[in-house]
């Protein structure tokens, strides 16, 4: 991206002044190198979002931003319903409530060295991954609706996990305002055999080692120590979310003109928050959030079963579970005035700062854990929300490394088998149903996650707490 496009900037905050139909400025959080390397489509998309009705303060892009659908991936935008603000299916994305859940295991690296292969094989055997895989559960009718209304709470009530898990999950495991009736039969049919499955693409379950504590105080507050073994689960609302996204995107594309909304790009299709379509979408999307929360809860249960069989000493406790594809109604202070806003985070993680009333007492002094997924060979990070970030980006931070290369390029450049062998040389075990899928997800196809996290930290939108490196990766 050309640096001269930016009107003003400091080292980590790059601002594009409103021009043309932009209602607010656009702001990208990144360092100079990340900006230079960023796809110019991010510029187009972050400025397009700034044109949408009712947008408040600015249209934001996170340091891992890349070309998305309408919104950039790594895009954050808040809308005020009282100012004609909109809700956008594209601003949430197809994989509604895709997110990361990270678990403590109570084990250190030395505890698993001897059983790493057994653990990898058993996790791969027990946790359905990849296209065509199905879960143990078959859900229909009222059971499906109960899941969509209850989220992870529903799963825990059925015996998949504990109430303690819910305390460490965003929304305490259950998104209020979900309307299962707004979810089509098609979407429900797509989901009926998919509960407790990882999916494919960039989704994974990783066994990780804490390689470095970057912030001793926050690390202690999160209960982290060096060489501890953690498990991170990255997946979302599976077929149900995809179908909700597809259907509402079309409805919004077709009806935008009727609502008097001029779209700079069809993929930005949206509806006024207060409109029947906007309200229908919010009800369905929240049901999609519950589906993702329930899915990660069930996978947590399956993971516990595997650890209990292989390493009975393990005790898997949820550190936190947070999504990065959502639209949430939240209270934010704008120019000193408290307002109810609908915050879209598309490939951006909610990052509530210290003292936020929604945080569990134990996390209130530190801020919310922000879980940043990496690629198979590099690292993941645990960050914490900041007070500054609440003002800078509506309490939002990056979500991962972000792709640097298309799947197409990646599958030409690498062979899956070779990627697996190379990572094995570095002590990382990969299990995946698809070698081509592994090639497309090769670590080299991603940006440097450390550069992304450092930029987020330096910009003040979140602070770096710990670095985790992969030991075993079950790739969807």
């Amino acid at each position: 991206m050309d640096l001269s496009l930016f009107a003003c900037h400091d080292d980590y905050r790059w601002e594009i002044a409103p021009r043309g139909k932009m209602r607010v400025p656009a702001v990208i959080f990144a360092n100079e190198q990340l900006i230079r390397d960023m796809d110019s489509k991010v510029y187009d998309q972050v400025t397009n979002v700034a044109m949408l009705p009712g947008i408040v303060q600015a249209s934001y892009a996170m340091p891992d931003a890349h070309w998305g659908y309408g919104f950039p991936i790594g895009g954050v935008a808040a809308f005020d319903p009282n100012m004609g603000g909109v809700v956008s299916a594209g601003g949430v994305g197809f994989d509604i409530s895709c997110g990361v859940r990270t678990l403590h295991t109570g084990l250190d690296l030395t505890d698993i060295e001897g059983v790493k292969n057994d653990l990898a094989n058993m996790l791969f055997f027990k946790i359905p991954a990849g296209l065509g895989s199905t879960g143990r559960m078959h859900l229909e009718h009222e059971d499906m609706d109960a899941m969509l209304a209850g989220g992870a709470r529903w799963a825990v009530a059925l015996g998949y996990g504990s109430w303690e898990d819910l305390m460490h999950t965003e929304e305490e495991g259950c998104m209020l305002g979900a309307v299962p009736e707004n979810v089509s039969e098609h979407a429900k049919k797509r989901q009926r055999d998919q509960m407790g499955t990882l999916g494919s693409g960039n989704h994974y379950l990783e066994v990780q080692r804490v390689a470095e504590i970057c912030d001793a105080e926050a690390g202690a507050a999160f209960g982290l120590h060096e060489d501890e073994i953690m498990v991170s689960i990255h997946c979302g609302s599976r077929g149900l979310g995809h179908q909700i996204g597809t259907e509402f995107l079309k409805k919004m594309v077709v009806s935008a003109r009727g609502y008097g909304i001029e779209l700079p790009d069809r993929e930005l299709a949206c509806a006024p928050i207060s409109s029947p379509l906007g309200q229908d979408y919010l009800g369905a999307m929240r049901a999609g959030i519950n589906c993702a929360l329930a899915n990660r809860q069930i996978i947590t249960h399956l993971t516990r079963e595997v650890f209990a069989a292989v390493l009975p000493r393990a005790g898997l406790r949820v550190l936190y579970d947070v999504s990065h594809n959502t639209c949430k109604e939240e209270e934010h202070s704008v120019d000193g005035v408290s307002r109810r806003l609908f915050v879209h985070r598309k490939g951006a993680t909610r990052a509530l700062g210290p003292g936020h009333p929604q945080l569990l007492e134990a996390l209130r002094a530190t801020g919310q854990p922000v879980l940043i997924g990496g690629s198979m060979g590099t690292a993941s990070y645990i960050m914490a929300g900041t007070t500054q970030g609440m003002a800078l980006s509506f309490g939002s931070a990056c979500h991962g490394a972000g792709r640097a290369m298309s799947r197409h390029q990646a599958s030409r450049q690498w062979r899956g088998r070779q990627v697996i062998d190379d990572l094995a040389q570095h002590g990382i075990i990969i299990r995946s149903p698809s070698t081509r899928g592994v090639a497309e997800e090769a670590p080299g196809a991603y940006k440097d996650v450390t550069a992304v996290v450092d930029a987020a930290d330096a910009a003040g939108i979140a602070r770096k707490v710990a670095k985790l490196v992969p030991v075993i990766c079950i790739k969807g």
Partner: protein, 144 residues
């Protein structure tokens, strides 16, 4: 390429995080069929999929472009709920209605070795157009 010599064909094109599917044919219907084949090729090698079973698909949309997205999304839905990849397609148009068929078989993980699941077709890089040489081209990005 001279009109009349061109065989219908499919292509992939790059998109930041995902992949673009493109179909080229002597008619709009052929271009739609080839775009569907391009989507199958994102998932698996279509040569490995036998077209044993037929699934009928009907879509309606206000314009050709939305119709293309609808057609591909209808296929995504059928693939997901029937657990079937498809290797051959037939498309006929009647004004703004598409009458289509997809031929495939139940997924066999060993034989088909699917690489990735397509979540949905998108409006990104979406176009349906006839080139000056008479060939039709239909394309969009699919989210994986």
């Amino acid at each position: 390429m001279a009109h009349g010599h061109a065989e219908p064909r499919w292509e992939h094109f790059s998109h930041g995080a995902d992949i673009g599917v493109r179909g080229i044919g002597r008619s709009k219907a052929e271009a739609f069929e080839q775009t569907a084949l391009a989507m199958t090729q994102v998932i698996t090698d279509a040569d490995r999929v036998e077209g044993r079973e037929r699934v009928n698909i009907v879509c309606q949309a206000p314009d050709d472009e939305i119709l293309l997205v609808d057609w591909l999304n209808a296929l995504v839905y059928e693939m997901a709920t029937r657990q079937m990849p498809f290797s051959r397609f037939e498309v006929h148009f009647d004004d703004h209605q598409l009458d289509g068929a997809a031929f495939g078989e139940h997924i066999d993980l060993q034989r088909h070795r699917p690489a990735v699941e397509v979540k949905g077709a998108t409006y990104t890089s979406l176009s349906v157009e006839q080139n000056p040489d008479g060939l039709w081209k239909a394309q969009c990005v699919v989210d994986v």
